[in-house]
Symmetry: C2
Subunit: 166 residues, 2 copies
């Protein structure tokens, strides 16, 4: 399977998140070569703490297949899954997870821990790491850099408008 | 706070799941004494692997509050949360989780591990265990016992109808 091809599709999803000011993370789910679920982070837009790219893609794929078992599917995601999304991957019995860049703050597919390879759970998922790592990492780094610049500018503007303000 | 009062409300939700043949697990979310989110397991009905009681209750509570941060809320659930739901509890910054009965197969709030008390994540949630444990455990035990009996009866009927069958 061409991992880079599908990771590019996940990156397209991440760019959709970026375009609306969301942290740019994207995911797709692939079944027999076909993309059957897509998702990008919508936490702020939907004000929903569960609206991560993976969860949205999993729900769409289950709807497409007409069942909750995605055991012949692969999930491609630009950032390593958090505990919630790793758990959703186990719940949906996804066979393989391919991620772009590791998440040192919350990654639960090998960085902080590997929930996908714990034999005490009733399912394990194979993990492939660092596919298009540079692109997947850069889109996040650029997003946060741009956010910091915007905040700095707003602060400066606010100071100029209220030089004696609090 | 009267933990038993709210756990009874979570048990009511579990009974709604039971009534439609779902594994009977229920949850409620409480903010300043008021129930602002309710959910029961709907995995089979919705064919959605993420449709656990806690996820449904969290989404409803976030909708009610109009924001994804549930940091002044408590979540009551009849069964110890799985990794996905423990992760969703962290994502929504819930302050306190109160569960009924531990889950030796997938419990991630103290039994197999405690994702809610891992200082590497950016949030920790207080856990209270074993509230109305007997009732919360019994509803599950009875459900699975009844399921086994039904399956046995169906097998016997099938044998009687096709004595030479495969």
């Amino acid at each position: 399977m061409n991992h880079e091809f599908y990771m590019h599709a996940a990156l397209e999803e991440a760019r959709l998140a970026e375009a609306i000011g969301e942290v740019p993370i994207g995911a797709v789910i692939v079944h027999e070569g076909e993309i059957i679920g897509r998702g990008h982070n919508l936490r702020e837009s939907n004000q929903d703490p569960t609206a991560h790219a993976e969860i949205i893609a999993i729900k769409q794929a289950a709807g497409q297949i007409g069942g909750w078992r995605l055991n012949h599917c692969s999930l491609y995601v630009t950032l390593e899954p958090c505990p919630m999304c790793a758990g959703a991957i186990l719940q949906s019995r996804i066979q393989q997870v391919i991620y772009g860049t590791p998440d040192p703050k919350a990654g639960c597919a090998g960085t902080l821990m590997n929930l996908l390879d714990d034999e005490r759970f009733n399912h394990q998922t194979e993990v492939v790491t660092n596919v298009l790592k540079e692109e997947c990492s850069a889109i996040l780094t650029n997003f946060f850099r741009s956010l910091r610049t915007k905040k700095k500018l707003l602060k400066q503007q606010s100071k100029q408008q209220n030089p004696t303000g609090p």
